[in-house]
Amino acid sequence: MAKKAATRKSGASKTPPAKKTLASKTAAGRRPARSNAPALTKEEELYAYREMLLIRRFEEKAGQMYGMGLIGGFCHLYIGQEAVVTGIHMASKEGDASITGYRDHGHMLVAGIDPNGVMAELTGRASGLSKGKGGSMHMFSKEKNFYGGNGIVGAQVSLGTGLAFAYKYRGEDNVSLTYFGDGASNQGQVYESFNMAKLWDLPVVYIIENNKYAMGTSLERASAMTDLSQRGASFDIPGEKVDGMDVRYVHEAAARAIAHARSGKGPYILEMLTYRYRGHSMSDPAKYRSKDEVQTMRSEHDPIEQVKQRILSEKHASEDDLKQIEKEVRAIVTQAADFATNAPEPDISELWTDITIQAGS
């Protein structure tokens, strides 16, 4: 453990720190600027744009490959929610852990994990990051402290709490970023975890990705109290609602929450108000919501479009520069798709590896 801690760039933020100025220079004609909107630096805006675009294009490609039968089983796309994981990641530092459910491709990509390996895991091939054993729902990267996609709704919340416990026990100043959905927030173990986390003041930020639906069930149909940011109230855990479609707000709130957790004050809850554009998984026709509802979110709140407009109006980059980024991102995704299509199937002997450590243990 000590060795690992020593190799970390302690305190090094992954992107330049945010400039906390007011975004007052907004161009006319785009969606009304909110006064006091937190600002990102030019570098941060461009970083967020590229990351979110990578997730979007990757997921679109995964959707196509699913349609072509190259990906089987489950495939839950993150399209629409890109700002959440991107903003959180920008506010985190090297060594912080993250863990989530099955909607996990974006969490891998933003952590800087090789898209080829992610896509090959989706196609269940030997070159996948979990050797084709886990698939879409079970991404994992020890190197990047991504502790997995979990298929059991809510299970990651207690595991994430344990990750925080370990940091505190070892005296490391990292935090656990524990993501779960609005639907998952009705699992009992979430509240058992909240209580323990506050009781022991564990360094964990609970990020509720409230995309308004759990499969076909809207938040209102499943939750007696729909203000999820207050779900920690009875444990004295602070929480806030955040515009999860705007990476600036995500980043700002995440910085606050992470600082709170890192400073030893205990857990913090961020309810990210977000939206998934696609069905719950590739097999969901999403008949439980109107086309209008989806269209409104897409045209008025799209996280990528928002950053793009700001970049252009602030003249951080030109249309051509952005086209160039788009081109680079597409090339990465195309390469990942080719890699995942041509990667070998796992050998049958893999059935018996990795169950437990073999020989002599």
């Binding site: 089987g72 089983g73 489950f74 054993k133 298929g151 059991i152 699992q187 009992g188 199937e345 796992p346």
Partner: protein, 324 residues
């Protein structure tokens, strides 16, 4: 006679039982408006109303616990667990509550509920959505356990489950939902707790249940082409377990093979093999053979997934070796 699917047969059974018995209601995730993750309850909410098809929050322990409470008070809940893999989350409700209440309270009260769920491989659903966990249930006295392999049994076993005084765990197979058969549902079904002899032969008895019945029947067909005649027993319910039928058939033939999709170690096949060995020992010409799932989790890779469970070819080959 009409050709219907396994899925439709289940839906029909729920519908017919709910029309007859007002104390039956269904609760679970996505069972109402969505119609079930695998479409089993599709449309029932329109016919029977949202009071009887309750969409629940994602809260498995409370879903099963609430069903038990309602059952103790005279209702007949059908609680749906979307995947049998989530049974671990509800193992207290099932194992310490549902299974113990009649005994612990000296027979004063029972828990007449059905826990409907589905399991098994075949859809690249991965390690947490593909398991065959029937042994957990069978290992717990106090729980009934039904696992239909045919369209007719999907209907009749579910109807019968909905008349039982004790908790029934009803495990469907995810790869059978689209299976079609010509069935006459008005025909008198086999009684609850009776195994079905799906085919008779003089050389070997193959005992199985759930989707493996399909694989075993295919293997038996191929074996017949090579002059080997197999008796195939579909257990239908694992509790009650119709060991009488097993004994009768095994004693006639002297060779027994037990086939299960679940992992080999401590599985249903192990229990059956032990019991046949003990009780039919004098009639056996060979040791009882188990063919079961590999002792490993299920991979998402289609190749590894298929490789981790018995195939018709493996069954055929193994029986050939036993009989030859």
């Amino acid at each position: 006679m009409a050709e219907i699917t396994y899925r439709e047969a289940l839906r029909l059974a729920l519908h017919d039982a709910m029309v007859e018995d007002e104390s039956i209601f269904v609760l679970g995730e996505e069972v109402g408006r969505y119609g079930g993750a695998y479409g089993v309850t599709k449309g029932l909410i329109d016919k029977l109303g949202p009071e009887r098809l309750l969409d629940t929050p994602i809260s498995e322990p409370a879903i099963i616990g609430a069903a038990i409470g309602a059952a103790m008070s005279g209702m007949r809940p059908v609680a749906e667990l979307m995947y049998v893999d989530f049974i671990g989350m509800t193992m207290d409700q099932l194992g310490n509550q549902a299974a113990k209440i009649r005994y612990m309270f000296g027979g004063q009260i029972g828990v007449p509920m059905v826990l409907r769920t589905q399991g098994g491989t075949g859809r690249s659903a991965g390690a947490q959505h593909s398991q065959s966990l029937e042994a957990f249930v069978m290992h717990t006295p106090g729980l009934r356990l039904a696992m239909p392999a045919t369209v007719g049994d999907a209907y009749h076993l579910l109807r019968q489950s909905l008349t039982k005084p004790d908790p029934v765990v009803f495990i469907e197979h995810k790869s059978l939902y689209a299976m079609k058969e010509d069935v006459d549902l008005a025909e008198e079904p086999l009684p609850w707790g009776k195994a079905a002899v799906r085919r008779r032969g003089k050389d070997v008895v193959i005992i199985t249940y759930s989707r493996q019945v399909q694989f075993v029947m295919r293997a038996a067909g191929a074996l017949a082409g090579q002059g080997i005649e197999a008796t195939v027993i579909d257990l239908r319910t694992l509790n009650p377990l119709d060991f009488e039928t097993v004994r009768e058939e095994v004693e006639k033939v002297g060779k027994a093979v037990v086939v299960s999709e679940a992992v080999l170690t401590c599985g249903v096949a192990a229990e059956l093999a032990a019991r046949i060995s003990e009780e039919c020992f004098d009639y056996l010409t060979d040791p009882v053979v188990r063919i079961a799932g590999e002792d490993c989790p299920i991979s998402v890779s289609a190749e590894l997934e298929a490789g981790s469970i018995p195939s018709a070819e493996l069954i055929e080959e193994t029986v050939m070796r036993l009989v030859a």
